[in-house]
């Protein structure tokens, strides 16, 4: 017996090591109700310990390499930045001034929205505290789209916190170690997030494919989905706040497995392959964080100083609107209107009058929009002059509602 082990010791060692690893794999996999296999959402403690050990060994040299790279790149870019810093500074100051005005204008809308939400018992959550972190390493495998950040449990990070950049969402914290954390990127096949198309309001589930591309799966085929449409987080997954940029529709493909459904390929908003600085959303609250509140107060002050000037501008625009020719002439039939498109062979026709019209028949009652329309002829701008700059605003800053800012349609002079 002893000679058998000595003679075949190579094979015996190989078999023992293989069997131990297979047994180790068995405790990490479970059967789902559907009969398929999947990994446990949370690693067993022994597995987590191995990850912690390996991370503790690999992370320090990896961070050193990354810091050295940042140092070299930083020296060069700092020099380049110095060359144009004065002009950039002037541009930024102008931008900040303009954005403060826009912010103040949108603030009223945001407050009104909050009041309405409070009435409805719904609380919009704003990103309240974030932890800035540096991404320094990856899994080293293209089959696993995870990366490591230099903040961990000691910095208040917990699993399932959202990770974002200024450009858009990046992933969620998967595993937390004392001084580092593993982040599962949104382009991993095992990740998932609820998303919504910005204009068509179609919802879907975001995941990655084998090659690391972003796609929205399980979407009912719809002609309105076009390349170039923005995709935002829907907020229903309890990880990402609502309204954060996800990407832009690149291509719509038919789902090969399910009829009537399409997969939407996205161009990610964040540069998932070149991440350096990321923000981990540590908490969300139904109020603005202190920094933003200070910004808003500053914007309010600025707005009160500038509002007489804005009022003058509004007055001037009202006078101009009265003098300019109208795009719709109420005295002319539809086919003689200035904007009538004679090339259209199927113009929209008004609905036929019913045989016995009542108050609900189209055209029977006074048009709902007639009185306000007449009023709006006299007052084409809102009474509150602070609403005027809202037309140029892009949203409430640094919170998800930014993307749900009201769409401003072009005005037409009814005369």
């Amino acid at each position: 017996m002893e000679s058998f082990f000595i003679r075949y010791r190579n094979l015996v060692v190989l078999l023992v090591i293989l069997v131990v690893q297979i047994a180790g794999l068995a405790v990490q996999v479970r059967r789902t109700a559907g009969g398929s296999s999947t990994l446990y959402a949370n690693d067993p403690s022994e597995v987590r310990l191995i990850r912690l050990w390996v991370s503790s060994i690999i992370s320090p040299p990896e961070r050193m390499i990354h810091a050295a790279k940042l140092g070299v790149v930083g020296m060069w870019t700092n020099y380049l930045d110095l060359l144009s810093v004065r002009r950039q500074n002037q541009d930024l100051e102008r931008t900040i001034g303009r954005m403060r005005l826009e912010q103040a204008a949108l603030l009223e809308d945001a407050r009104e929205g909050q009041r309405l939400q409070a009435l409805l018992g719904f609380q919009q959550k704003y990103i309240y505290t974030t932890v800035a972190a540096q991404a320094y390493g990856s899994s080293g495998s293209d089959r696993s789209h995870v990366f490591y950040i230099d903040k961990g449990a000691n910095d208040g990070l917990k699993p399932d916190m959202a990770v974002i950049t200024a450009d858009g969402i990046v992933g969620k914290v998967r595993d937390v170690f004392p001084h580092s954390a593993q982040v599962l990127a949104v382009n991993d096949p095992t990740s998932g997030a609820g998303v919504i198309l910005e204009t068509t309001r179609i919802r879907g589930i975001l995941k990655g494919d084998a090659s690391g591309r972003l796609e929205v799966v399980g979407v009912a085929s719809d002609q309105r989905i076009k390349p170039g449409e923005n995709v935002l987080t829907a907020g229903g997954d309890m990880i990402f706040p609502r309204g954060l940029p996800v990407g832009v529709v690149e291509k719509v493909l038919r789902d090969p497995d399910r009829d009537g459904l399409v997969d939407i390929l996205l161009t990610p908003a964040a540069h998932l392959n070149r991440l350096d600085e990321v923000l981990v959303i540590a908490s969300t609250e139904p109020r603005f964080p202190p920094d933003q509140q200070r910004d808003l107060a500053a914007s309010d002050t600025l707005q009160s100083a500038v509002s007489p000037a804005i009022r003058d501008q509004v007055k001037a625009s009202e006078i101009m609107a009265e003098k300019l020719p109208g795009l719709i002439d109420p005295n002319l039939p539809p086919d003689q209107q200035p904007l009538h498109d004679s090339s259209n062979p199927n113009p929209a026709t008004p609905p036929q009058q019913p045989l016995h019209p009542d108050e609900f028949s189209p055209g029977a009652a006074a048009p709902a929009g007639s009185a306000p329309r007449a009023e709006s002829t006299q007052k084409p701008r809102p009474k509150n002059p602070s609403a005027a700059p809202a037309a140029t605003g892009s949203g409430v800053p640094a919170q998800p509602a930014a993307n749900s800012a009201p769409q401003v349609t072009p005005r037409r002079n009814p005369e």
Partner: protein, 173 residues
């Protein structure tokens, strides 16, 4: 391909290295494997721990050492991902064992043979990974053989440069 007696080759040409090389080279391969994809992505078709495993297994010509080294490297790679720990471990265990077993039998100083061995063992590691994930564990795994082929080519090219460089670290009697 010159075939040699197993005992004579193992006794005569076992490569020996300073202890520091045994510790630092595998560690460096793991660190670079984790860091380089941040620079090279999406063209990260290489597996440095596998190349290093093959190198030491071929040079040492000891299947037990090759097996253990492959297992450790594979488990470390697995630990850095979010997948189950052991899939790469099993793949690289087999690669280490086979590379050492082949190293006993054939002349491995030749660059062409090293290139070919790296290519074949890379493909074998991919096949074992696929087998364990999909068939042994029943996990859903999207797979592209083209990527695996590119990875095998990448590993071979890296071996072409890395093996002569590591040969210089040998201790000569």
């Amino acid at each position: 391909m010159p075939l040699l007696g197993a005992d004579s080759r193992r006794d005569m040409e076992i490569h020996r290295y300073p202890l520091l090389v045994y510790a630092l080279v595998p560690l460096a391969s793991l660190v670079l494997q984790a860091w380089l994809p941040r620079v090279t992505s999406p063209y990260d078709w290489f597996d440095l721990p596998l190349v290093v495993t093959v190198y030491f297994a071929l040079g040492r010509r000891n299947p037990i050492q090759g097996t253990i080294m492959g297992a450790v490297m594979g488990l470390c790679e697995d630990a850095l991902t979010h997948h189950a720990i052991g899939i790469n471990g099993i793949a690289k265990t087999l690669v280490g064992f086979l590379a050492a077993s082949v190293g006993i039998r054939i002349e491995v100083e030749n660059q062409v043979i090293r290139l070919l061995l790296n290519f074949l063992l890379s493909l074998l590691a991919s096949a074992v990974y696929l087998f364990v994930s999909r068939f042994l564990l029943g996990l859903a795994l999207e797979w592209s053989w083209l990527t695996e082929l590119l990875r095998a080519v990448g590993n071979s090219l890296i071996a072409l440069v890395l093996f002569p460089a590591l040969d210089r670290l040998q201790t000569r009697d």
